[in-house]
Amino acid sequence: MQPNIFKRLYPVILVTFIVLVSAVLLSFTDDITRGKIAEQEVAQVRGVLEEMFPNMTSLTLENDIYTVLENDTTIGYGFVAVGRGYGGEISILVGLENKTTVKGIVIISQDETPGLGTRVAEEPFTSQFAGVDIDDVRLDGKIDAITGSTISSEAIVEAVRNAALEKAESLGE
């Protein structure tokens, strides 16, 4: 009776054991890479904001909003807005020069159609946002959509405006 039960339970024990080994290995890998992954994200944001605000000397992060400082004086804000594009999520880093005006936007990641939707990540589209009041970030306001990429253009415009209004509110008037 005893050996029979063991024989029947053996596959269960084996699979459990293999899953345990796998889980231990993965938590080690996660431990090693976690810090580096978080670092990469901050480094990416810092690089983009440095280009947007050439006078930046330091950066602080609080409640998902980066505050850009030049010798302890606030010169702008940065945050990540996420829009639903044609091919998936579009992450946009938005810079504000004050609580109501956009300094610029940079597309951090997107899965749009190559050659069509991806053009929203390029200069002619993104440069339109510089100096625009956040209430005017609309396709029927100050921003022109890219022909053939209406969905991608709209996703970005909506995500930028909604996130900007929300962040401006949380920053206080």
Partner: protein
């Protein structure tokens, strides 16, 4: 030793996973938009294939038949998760470009097929040869496909940020369709026709 070399070389041409066995076509179609992506995907697949072939060959005697598929999948997905975390940490641009196809290496039929058809029946040593051969064969196919798609679809070619060349007329007016999904089918189809004409691929 000769057996090892035989297992290694068969994956490159005689049983090339893409052009002969038609395995793993889904990632081959999806990530062959640029040579960079093809190289990254090759590195990922080669690592996972090597790791899973070694482990599965090592544990083949203690794994009962009835649970072999779940065991294979756990082993394979462990390696895939490792690759995915490492790519995310050290090559974020590549991680972003490969997107969903990186985690999907788990269900890549090449890897499961090699585990089932080869590693679970052969020695560790020969399984290593099989993994390297199949991985490089997959990579070679991917690089050939992506080379044509990138150079004709965008008019220029660059590898890891180093610009190599721009075609005269196509640089201005690239055949963008080749970089899109239909282009992948066209390029693979034309390459297969060419290989068959050249006698590299024989019809049985």
């Amino acid at each position: 030793m000769s057996r090892f070399r035989k297992e290694l070389s068969k994956g490159l041409v005689a049983s090339n996973p893409i052009f002969i066995l038609f395995l793993g076509l889904c990632p081959a179609l999806a990530v062959s938009t640029s040579v960079d992506n093809a190289l990254g995907m090759t590195a990922g697949v080669l690592f996972v294939l090597l790791g899973s072939n070694i482990i599965i060959s090592a544990i083949k005697k203690i794994v009962p038949n009835m649970v072999r598929i779940p065991v294979f999948i756990v082993v394979i997905s462990t390696f895939v998760t490792v690759v995915s975390l490492v790519f995310q940490a050290y090559v974020p641009a590549l991680y972003a470009a490969l997107g969903i196809y990186l985690p999907l290496i788990t269900v890549n039929c090449i890897i499961l097929a090699r585990a089932e058809a080869f590693a679970s029946k052969n020695t560790i040593f020969n399984s290593i040869g099989d993994a390297i051969g199949m991985g490089l064969g997959f990579g070679a196919a991917l690089i050939i496909i992506s080379f044509f798609r990138e150079i004709l679809g965008t008019g220029s070619i660059s590898i890891f940020g180093t610009h190599l060349l721009t075609l005269p007329v196509l640089g201005e007016h690239p055949m963008a369709m080749l970089a899109l999904p239909p282009g992948a089918f066209l390029v693979i189809g034309l390459l297969l026709a060419l290989f068959r004409r050249m006698g590299v691929v024989r019809s049985e």
